[in-house]
């Protein structure tokens, strides 16, 4: 139990990220790679993820404006996005990516569009939550070790 109130709040916030299904075990993996030599590893990787995602989301948006849909291309983009999301442990976003890819494979344009809207929502939520989390983490100071959520 953290004595420092800020650290406690951080721990609670972190736990809720897991409990609400925003992140999974892979996020813990990132945390475990953070140490004195790499004190901001998690945030750095997540920032890279945002950059990468912005590009892919734009590509998908543009692809969805062209009719008929090029499902192969859409699927390829989403494969990339899923890979990135999966690498940082973005659980809900990853799940939505999978769904989108299913729609691509079955040539379901409506499904793709719906799924993409949902995905963008999840992604925005994740960004917001992680943004708050990292901000608090910076204020609270370095955390010693990652603890497994339960």
């Amino acid at each position: 139990m953290e004595r420092n109130p800020m650290r406690r709040q951080l721990a609670i916030m972190r736990q809720s990220l897991f409990d609400q299904g925003h992140v999974d075990e892979q996020f813990v993996q990132l945390e475990e790679l953070q140490d004195d030599a790499n004190p901001n590893f998690v945030e750095e990787v997540v920032t890279l993820y945002y950059r990468d995602s912005a590009r892919i989301i734009l590509n998908i948006e543009q692809a969805l404006e062209r009719k008929p849909f090029d499902f192969r291309k859409l699927d390829a983009y989403m494969h990339q996005f899923k890979g990135s999301s999966s690498s940082i442990g973005a659980k809900k976003v990853k799940a939505e990516s999978t769904l989108f890819r299913e729609y691509c494979k079955s040539g379901n344009g409506e499904g793709c569009m719906r799924s993409f809207q949902q995905l963008k929502k999840e992604y925005a939520t994740l960004r917001k939550k992680l943004g708050t989390y990292f901000q608090l983490a910076r204020q609270a100071g370095p955390v010693e070790t990652a603890s497994r959520p339960k």
Binding site: Q29, E32, D35, E44, V45, Y49, G83, S84, S86, S87
Partner: protein, 227 residues
């Protein structure tokens, strides 16, 4: 380096490690055929798994305490993997960063590339890498296409080396860079690999099997071919 004997020849095994997402034990077993990849790792890369697989395929430190979390186990592994040079090829920059981060934790020197083509340029004999982590689902060149030229090159070089070798003359390495293939879709990857006679998969902690599988690979390497 993992060593094994096949017809009196001892070979070093740079490892092909497949990174895959949903591998099941069944698939892993099924994929144990002679081929190009030495092991499969699920994407996204788990740091402890990366180190364990690497340790395994490089034949380092046979005794490893199971059940230790990475932070404790890392001290032991750190020394063992320190100084190894690994090539990581993944077109996904985020995953590449995670893999590099995981390996650097063990003081492994990591070089990253984004394409199979770029990797092939770096993987010329004599190798300066101890192992090669490779995403096998890259758009411009899939993993099989990226490793086949490597195995063919090795096969050729090994054929040339084979003359005049016998058990008494001592140990001599045969070229075989360990390729650790990474894939997010191991089910299809193993299926394709089996069909192509491509994959050579081993679980961590099964050195004997790995050796056997790779030995088989060397025997059958000339007959293996894939489209």
């Amino acid at each position: 380096m993992l060593e094994g004997k096949q017809n009196g020849q001892v070979f070093k095994l740079p490892k092909v490690i497949l990174l895959a997402t949903n591998i099941t034990n069944v698939e892993l077993e099924k994929a144990k055929a002679a081929g190009f990849a030495d092991t499969v790792i699920m994407k996204p890369m788990r740091a402890s798994m990366a180190a364990a697989c690497l340790q395994q395929v490089l034949g380092i430190g046979k005794k490893r305490q199971a059940g230790k979390n990475m932070l404790n186990g890392s001290m032991a592994l750190q020394g063992l993997l320190c100084g190894k040079k690994i090539l990581v090829v993944d077109d996904n920059m985020v995953h590449q960063r995670v893999v590099a981060g995981a390996l650097k934790k063990f003081e492994v020197a990591v070089e990253c590339r984004e394409s199979g083509k770029a990797a092939l340029k770096l993987l010329q004999l004599p190798y300066c890498f101890d192992a090669y982590f490779m995403d096998i689902q890259m758009p411009e060149m899939n993993g099989f296409e990226a490793t086949h030229p490597i195995r063919m090159m090795e096969s050729k070089a090994n054929k040339q080396m084979n003359g005049g070798m016998d058990e008494d003359s001592g140990r001599k390495g045969e070229w075989h860079v360990p390729i650790l293939a990474m894939t997010a879709d191991v089910i299809h990857a193993t299926y394709d690999a089996l069909n192509a006679g491509w994959m050579d998969v081993s679980k961590p902690f099964e050195e004997a099997k790995l050796y056997q599988v790779v030995a088989e690979f060397f025997k059958s390497t000339r007959s293996n071919c894939f489209t």
